[in-house]
């Protein structure tokens, strides 16, 4: 009798301890979901708030006028975003033209040819490049690239330029997107199975032919995804571009012209627009354009990359 009772007690004790552990487990699980929910709401909150604030300008002007008109006179009530959109596209495209071939060749070399030791040496350099603050890149542009264009490249092309130009923005931005392009392309190349390379080499192809006809073909979607990602990074870059691109609200006609990309527009004017509500609304519309473009680019490229990862795993 006595024996039994103590056993029951002991069992109760064990089960209550067990219960407590399980309850802790359940509560922790629920608790951990909270930040995840918060972060999920964040993107929608940003979108909603930007949309809310750009409503005023969208109700006054049709959206096509805003996007395709090139007259920007906020005080006179002209809000044409065309020069800014073109400025962004010019600078970003130029940066990608410089950056894509160099990054892909570098990634191919690191993945296919380089000795593992060399790879280990190069890796920290690329990480470091990714960690340099954008203001420092901007300063580098002002100190080296801008004078270079003003004193050498522009005269060589037979034009006069202050140096603060699309070309300067393109140069600086291309260096800034090297790390992201190289590291993602490298990762994508690594997902191509070794057996495929071996099969091609066995058939008598040399290493370059294998890269060209097997590896790159297989890695093609992933590389496109990397490029889209790099493009969207360049698209939203603010400070470095702002410092070297000249900030003149005109539709550019050559790479030696200054431009005024959307992020620079927002950063430069945001402090002072509070007095004119419609101007505020116009800038919020600019931010909305930027946000929507970046989100779309990111979703596309991430979707492709996730699919590739899943195929490998």
């Amino acid at each position: 009798m006595n024996f039994n009772r103590s056993r029951v007690l002991k069992n109760n004790l064990i089960s209550s301890k067990r219960n407590r552990r399980e309850i802790t487990d359940k509560i922790a699980g629920k608790f951990m979901l909270i930040p995840a929910i918060l972060i999920s709401i964040l993107l929608f909150a940003i979108f909603a708030l930007l949309l809310l604030h750009s409503e005023q300008i969208l109700s006054l002007y049709p959206i096509t006028d805003l996007i395709f008109s090139s007259s920007w006179k906020p005080l006179a009530g002209d809000f044409g975003f065309y020069p800014f959109i073109m400025g962004t596209i010019w600078v970003t495209s130029l940066a990608m033209i410089f950056s894509i071939p160099i990054s892909i060749f570098t990634a191919v070399y690191l993945s296919e040819y380089a000795h593992p030791k060399l790879r280990k040496i190069i890796q920290p350099f690329i990480d470091l490049l990714a960690g340099i603050p954008s203001v420092v890149f901007g300063l580098f542009g002002v100190l080296l690239i801008v004078p270079l264009i003003r004193d050498y490249l522009a005269p060589m092309a037979g034009v006069t330029s202050s140096g603060y130009s699309i070309l300067a923005g393109g140069f600086v931005l291309s260096i800034m997107v090297f790390p992201i392009l190289i590291s993602i392309t490298y990762e994508v190349l690594r997902t191509v199975p070794v057996e495929m390379r071996e099969a091609s080499l066995t058939l008598g192809a040399n290493q370059w032919e294998t890269i060209k006809k097997v590896v790159l073909k297989k890695a093609y979607p992933g590389i496109i995804a990397a490029i889209i990602l790099g493009f969207s990074r360049a698209f939203g870059e603010t400070m470095a571009v702002l410092m070297v691109v000249g900030n003149v609200a005109k539709v550019p006609t050559s790479v030696f012209d200054p431009a005024y990309p959307i992020p620079a527009l927002i950063a430069n004017n945001y402090g002072e627009m509070m007095s004119i509500p419609i101007y505020d609304s116009a800038l919020m519309f600019a931010a909305l354009i930027l946000f929507v473009m970046v989100v779309i680019f990111n979703i596309i490229s991430k979707y492709v990359l996730i699919k590739i990862k899943r195929r490998v795993a």
């Binding site: 930040p35 995840a36 060749f105 570098t106 040819y113 960690g131 260096i175 939203g236 400070m239 402090g271």
Partner: protein, 283 residues
């Protein structure tokens, strides 16, 4: 025929080596330019004093306000980001088997890391207008925290995914709950990686200017409370560079060296720490 094929390979191989050289050289060029231009005006005064009267006209003083301001902002932000990120990363790796939720959250995180910091700055500024707040240390911290939380979570998540499944299974097989496995096995196993992710996110926070442009304000003194405005190192560089006075511009270059040194230190520390803690990791 064989010769032509091999020639083609040789050409492309040299193009690749050239590309790699360009990448490395551009990194070196950034460093060299900033150091050569900034070194002459680098002085102890720069890092030990706040700007004196007439600093932006070439007067005496330094940028201690910006250095301390940046540290305050980033330390505050990394603490908040860590508190939010760790549970999120743990959740993604343990509590979500066989559900679509982690996939969706990961996608949202990926997209969030791609949003330009400027947009986060605008977002927080809009909230500040709604609640009627002014630019201050507090709102600067919030901005950077919002901006680096996705980066930090993603970094931690990636590390935790590399923890071997067998280790988890061994722990669970001993009768632990998922929570216990998380705390005692996964977190420890991933510790070096978590540290690296934290330092990386910290570096992003300290180097970013666009996000705190409207939310942190700018001041020549060191903030004494959360409601004071605060200067940051990147913005100090930007503002000093925008003045027309050569001496002040010189100081912008010197400030950039200080910022670069901080970034380099962080990257060195993360490497050393992660190597140190690697000893306790089961592989």
């Amino acid at each position: 025929m064989i010769k032509r094929r091999n020639l083609e390979e040789k050409i492309f191989k040299s193009v690749m080596i050239l590309s790699l050289t360009i990448v490395i050289c551009s990194l070196l060029a950034v460093f060299a330019t900033v150091i050569i231009k900034g070194a002459p005006s680098l002085s102890l005064e720069m890092i030990t004093e706040v700007p004196k009267g007439g600093y932006y006209l070439g007067g005496g003083g330094g940028i201690l306000n910006a250095i301390v301001g940046s540290l305050y902002l980033s330390i505050g932000a990394i603490v908040i980001a860590f508190i939010l990120s760790l549970p999120m990363a743990l959740y993604l790796n343990q509590y979500s088997e066989r559900s679509r939720v982690p996939g969706i959250i990961r996608m949202i995180l990926e997209v969030s890391t791609g949003i330009p910091s400027l947009i986060y700055g605008v977002f927080v500024f809009l909230i500040m207008i709604e609640v009627g707040a002014r630019a201050s240390l507090f709102w600067g911290i919030i901005t950077i925290a919002v901006f680096i939380t996705p980066i930090l979570t993603r970094g931690m998540d990636e590390i935790m995914q590399t923890v071997p499944l067998k280790l988890k299974e061994a722990s669970l097989a001993l009768g632990t709950t998922r929570f216990e496995t998380l705390i005692h096995v996964i977190t420890r196993q991933a510790l070096p990686g978590i540290l690296t992710a934290v330092i990386l996110a910290f570096g992003r926070g300290i180097g970013d200017a666009a996000s705190v442009l409207f939310t942190a304000g700018y001041t020549d003194s060191i903030p004494t409370s959360l409601s004071d405005p605060v200067a940051t190192l990147p913005l100090a560089i930007f503002f000093q560079l925008s003045t027309p006075i050569p001496e002040v511009q010189q100081r912008a270059y010197a400030s950039a060296i200080i910022l670069l040194v901080i970034v380099l230190l962080l990257s060195a520390v993360s490497r050393i720490l992660s190597r140190r803690f690697m000893e306790y990791v089961v592989r």
